[in-house]
Symmetry: C2
Subunit: 406 residues, 2 copies
DNA sequence: GGGTATTATTTTGAAATCGAAATTACTGTC
DNA sequence: GACAGTAATTTCGATTTCAAAATAATACCC
């Protein structure tokens, strides 16, 4: 009769993991503060912290000048040499990868371009290549890999279920494959959700327990954090607001008749992704060029890209600005709906539009305030984490899920 | 120096409470099954169950004919005489109250009508009166009171924060007041959320971990259950989809021009509550009568009520039916949006419209399927719990929050 | 410099919980 | 009716976690 194999101290490991998470989130905590935060007895916190220090995951630091009475606390920080984690984030066109040290400081980053014609196998190869480049053999070993995957994933089996925009990307056993190849634990997450994790841990959502992160790239999706936890939904498909049926501002309408007046219109079946994503902006700009709209975009050589449009808006081109504002109005409506349904502490926009700053956000905010009761309690912000957002979030996912072995 | 008073065994009490919840949810569990469900050692489960049996909260039952080998399990059921709980649910016009026994079987129910002119104080008095009527002095004592309150509440301080449709209903210390008056713990919850709890524990949401309950009465709101937990939001204001800006079907439009064609329209500022609530239906029906629409409703004496309209629809009146269908289309859109955002296992509609059955739900379902990708994974249902739904949920809230004293 | 107040950490013994090994109460088989 | 097989429950240390008390390290005051 085979003896059942079972970790004898699984709680111990997860408690240690929780302590590490806390120390990473608010560096410089003491044993006693940790005990208070986690509702542990001080003695218990002491035991675990001692062990983590002994094993080289935490460092005790001198704390500089203090003025309060009493025995000074011994502050704890994660030991950067505790180990490294790799994060990968990709969608149809781009792949980003990063390595972070044990204190979640990025050490190195890499960007690769994906071609629309790339097959699933080719993309898999590029992922492995990017990870290889991050796998530098120095100091401490790589302890885990996190991947932000477009489309649906199954975080239990670590399978990438499906993504429309990569041919053959269905039921890819990404976790198993990378795990075998690199010999470390692999964690998958949908990529907008890993962006939300990045915001939660080091971005605009730091310290919040309820917020929504809206990612606008080729598609549109939302990562929802409730009580400090990512929301997945029954089939891990929560957040697909790209499929929302939404109002269409005249500027973004496809037909001339729909553009006639300034009023927003309701078109049966107009999906948010087709109305207010980056690709929708490019399409609307192209329609504008076709009808000889006066704009600096007319001078663009070759294929019109989203960067052209955003640059023109940034430089004050009226037509490009009108498109950005129209998209902003739609997302103002989105923010309003989400605010009423979730009552989050904050709504964070991520992606190239967010990088435009106030140019985009002002319209969003204005529209949301108009729609709500004086927009009460509505806080909207742009992500400030830049384009490695998702990769960093994926690395942090691995970092946070990882547990010291017992 | 006053010694800090603190329950020495708070986990014990909450573990016992959890065991009780499990046994209520799936009557007839055994010690071992409970241990498995809660990931406890069998010995631990045994210790607690023994104590609960000894204290009269659980009963061991004979289990009828079985065919499996091995020592038969001793099934456990909640002891109906373990204690009673009172639930109250009210909104602007109605107040419902119920008592349930320890196995959550309703024992008695009462309904009171509230007048629109009632002040906060008068309503408070009616609540107390209803509770008095439920406070029968027999067998076991009342252990807790749950109240489903309209509008915003603060479940931490147990204060009813605000509700628009009762004059002076602001910062009512309902929990403290009832607690003093009746000498038992009082638990507050927003009333749509307590309806969602009722669905979770004994209704269409039984056994589910992710679903949304949409309540359509004078207003419209949603109770969202994620991972088996109610979602509250940052200021406990989650679920206010009545404020959603939504499309308006021609049948429900206010102006003649908007009614002109069959297309749905987007009106800036059209709120779901003003478009697709019970009061909106009555208003649309009245507008129909004013323009001499052919309908059985023309024969109604006195003020037109929602019951008239729903009865007419039930009897096949074309005009009334067209209104119900139009509202159904709007809620089909709502279901679609919620489905994409949350990916719940089920969406449950509650309120008088749901009591119409398929007459209402068919349109909802059809619209939602049209809007989604073949409506994949979308399950929509009507509540079957009837009008004491909220009261039962409120009682269950008290029942579930209550812990045996240690 | 010595006492007092204050806060962090460690020590200590007790309570909660566990895992593995009995024990119990059945069913089915010869 | 004894005997094997099976699954629930109990028993019995061992481990984890706790709470309270003791100890340590500082500031502040005289």
């Amino acid at each position: 009769m085979p003896r059942r194999i079972k970790s004898k101290h699984q709680h111990v490991a997860s408690l240690e993991a929780e302590l590490l998470r806390r120390v990473r989130a608010h560096g410089g905590l003491s044993r006693v503060q940790l005990a208070r935060d986690l509702k542990l007895a001080p003695s218990t916190a002491g035991i675990y912290v001692d062990r983590l220090v002994r094993e080289g995951f935490l460092l005790e630091t001198e704390n500089a000048g203090r003025e309060t009475a009493g025995r000074p606390p011994t502050s704890l920080v994660p030991n950067p040499d505790g180990g490294r984690f790799i994060g990968v984030d990709f969608e149809a066109r781009n792949l980003m990868a990063t390595v972070v040290d044990f204190s979640q400081q990025p050490i190195r980053q890499v960007h690769k371009t994906l071609r629309p014609t790339d097959s699933a196998a080719q993309i898999l190869a590029k992922i492995e290549l990017a990870i290889d480049e991050m796998m530098v053999r120095d100091s401490r070993p790589v302890l885990g890999i996190g991947v932000g995957v477009p489309g649906a994933i199954d975080p239990v089996t670590n399978v990438a279920v499906h993504y429309d925009f990569i041919t053959g990307w269905s039921d890819v056993p990404l976790g198993a494959r990378l795990g075998e190849r690199f010999g470390v634990p692999v964690f998958l997450e949908n990529n907008i959700r890993s962006m939300a994790l990045a915001e939660l841990w080091f971005g605009a959502g730091r310290g919040l327990r309820n917020f929504v992160c809206i990612g606008i790239r080729s598609g549109i999706a939302a990562g929802v954090v409730v009580n400090g936890q990512l929301l997945h939904g029954a089939q891990h498909r929560a957040g697909e607001i790209g499929h929302w049926v939404c109002p269409v501002p005249a500027e973004l309408a496809e037909t001339a008749s729909a553009r006639r007046n300034g009023e927003w219109r309701w078109q049966a079946g107009a999906k948010l992704e087709q109305v207010a994503s980056l690709s929708a902006i490019v399409a609307a700009a192209q329609r504008g060029l076709e009808r000889r709209q006066k704009t600096a975009l007319a001078d663009v050589k070759g294929e019109l890209t989203i960067d052209n449009v955003l640059a023109a808006a940034h430089d004050g081109d009226e037509f490009a600005l009108s498109l950005v504002r129209a998209v902003g109005r739609v997302h103002g409506w989105v923010a309003h709906q989400i605010n009423e349904l979730f009552n989050p502490e904050k709504i964070i926009f991520a992606g190239p539009l967010a990088d435009l700053g106030d140019l985009f956000l002002a319209t969003v905010h204005e529209t949301a305030r108009e729609l709500g009761d004086a927009g009460r309690d509505l806080v909207i912000a742009n992500s400030t984490l830049g384009q490695y957002n998702g990769a960093v979030g994926a690395a942090a996912l691995a970092l946070h899920q990882w547990k010291p072995k017992r």
